[in-house]
């Protein structure tokens, strides 16, 4: 299916059902992973049961150095 991830169009297998599946598929490994799904900010516990559908817009953000 087609997703927009961090502003980029990406094709991912349709076997991906949840945000957690997508994180694993992309091999994202930051100590802190924050997800916004279709402009809704997800709390940590929601990743495993938030469903991904074709056309969804996802932002993966993290903490980086800053002052």
């Amino acid at each position: 299916m087609e997703l927009i991830i961090n502003g980029t169009n990406m094709t991912v297998p349709s076997s991906i059902k949840t945000v957690t599946d997508l994180i694993d598929h992309l091999n994202l490994k930051s100590p802190v992973i924050i997800v916004e799904h279709n402009e809704k900010i997800l709390q940590k516990g929601e990743h495993a049961h938030t469903m991904i559908e074709d056309g969804d817009k996802i932002e993966f953000v993290q903490f980086v150095g800053g002052g």
């Binding site: 924050i34 900010i41 993290q62 150095g65």
Partner: protein
């Protein structure tokens, strides 16, 4: 103790985490500074290079209170979104409202900063707005309910130190919430000066991360903040035009 909202700190030095050349040096600098508060930014993950190291991997997350900033936001709405993204991590204790109005000077947008502060306070955040040293603006932010005020000493990363001690003094005198001098500090004397003026704390980043020896500078800043605070509490002598002898004038042997 420094008290901000419901949080209490022994250290009056807050440390930014940006622009360190090396995560090991950064970890050591953070430890040596004895800071209890770290700031950081919120940015997109690199989904094409997911194995890039992250500085948080080197840090004991339970040891610090986190003060994410809203840097990157140009409007109050964008700042609120960044703050809520940070909060979703479960690692956001306070939020630094940073809404820059000018890309050259990196001075904050006062109108959007006021709006964002009001919106985030309504959402229950502990809010520390980064502001210019405008005395009336600082009062307005305090009246909204900001938990601390963070006026800049000089432009971010400029290392110029405190260029307007008069305004900082006015802000410190009028403020019933902590004043944390944030931005532009360059050397230990700047940090000590801020504390001697009566500031409750300082936040610095480039002064340490950009120093030739960041670990040594982190220790110097820790000592400077302590010295400045002790000096302020000790009550310095007034400045006088003419001399007053330190040795007795009587009993001189002839």
């Amino acid at each position: 103790m420094l008290k901000i909202g419901e949080y209490e700190f022994h250290s009056r030095l807050f440390l930014g985490t940006g622009k360190f050349k090396d995560f090991d040096v950064q970890k050591e600098a953070v430890e040596v500074s004895e800071t209890e508060v770290l700031t950081f930014a919120v940015r997109r993950m690199n989904i094409f290079e997911p194995n890039q190291p992250n500085f948080l991997e080197k840090i004991d997350l339970n040891k610090y209170k986190f003060l994410p900033n809203t840097a990157g936001a140009k409007t109050a709405e964008e700042a609120v979104r960044i703050a809520k993204l940070a909060q979703a991590s479960g690692l956001c204790h306070m939020v630094k409202v940073e809404i820059i109005g000018c890309d050259k000077t990196l001075l904050p947008d006062p109108v959007e900063t006021l709006k964002a502060t009001e919106m985030l306070l309504a959402d229950g955040f502990t809010v520390l707005p980064y502001t210019s040293d405008d005395v009336v603006l600082a009062k307005r932010l305090e009246e909204l309910g900001a938990h601390a005020i963070m006026p800049g000493a000089s432009p971010i990363g400029s290392g110029q130190g405190i260029i307007n001690p008069l305004n900082l003094t006015f802000i410190i005198e009028q403020s019933n919430v902590p004043v944390i001098v944030d931005a532009g500090l360059g050397s230990p004397k700047d940090a000590a000066y801020a504390m001697e003026l009566g500031a409750d704390g300082v936040l610095l980043n480039t002064a340490v991360s950009g120093a030739k020896d960041p670990v040594k500078m982190a220790r110097a800043m820790k000592l400077a903040v302590e010295a400045g605070r002790l000096g302020y509490e000790a009550g310095r002598i007034p400045k006088k035009k003419y001399a007053t002898a330190s040795s007795p004038l009587e009993g001189i042997s002839q």
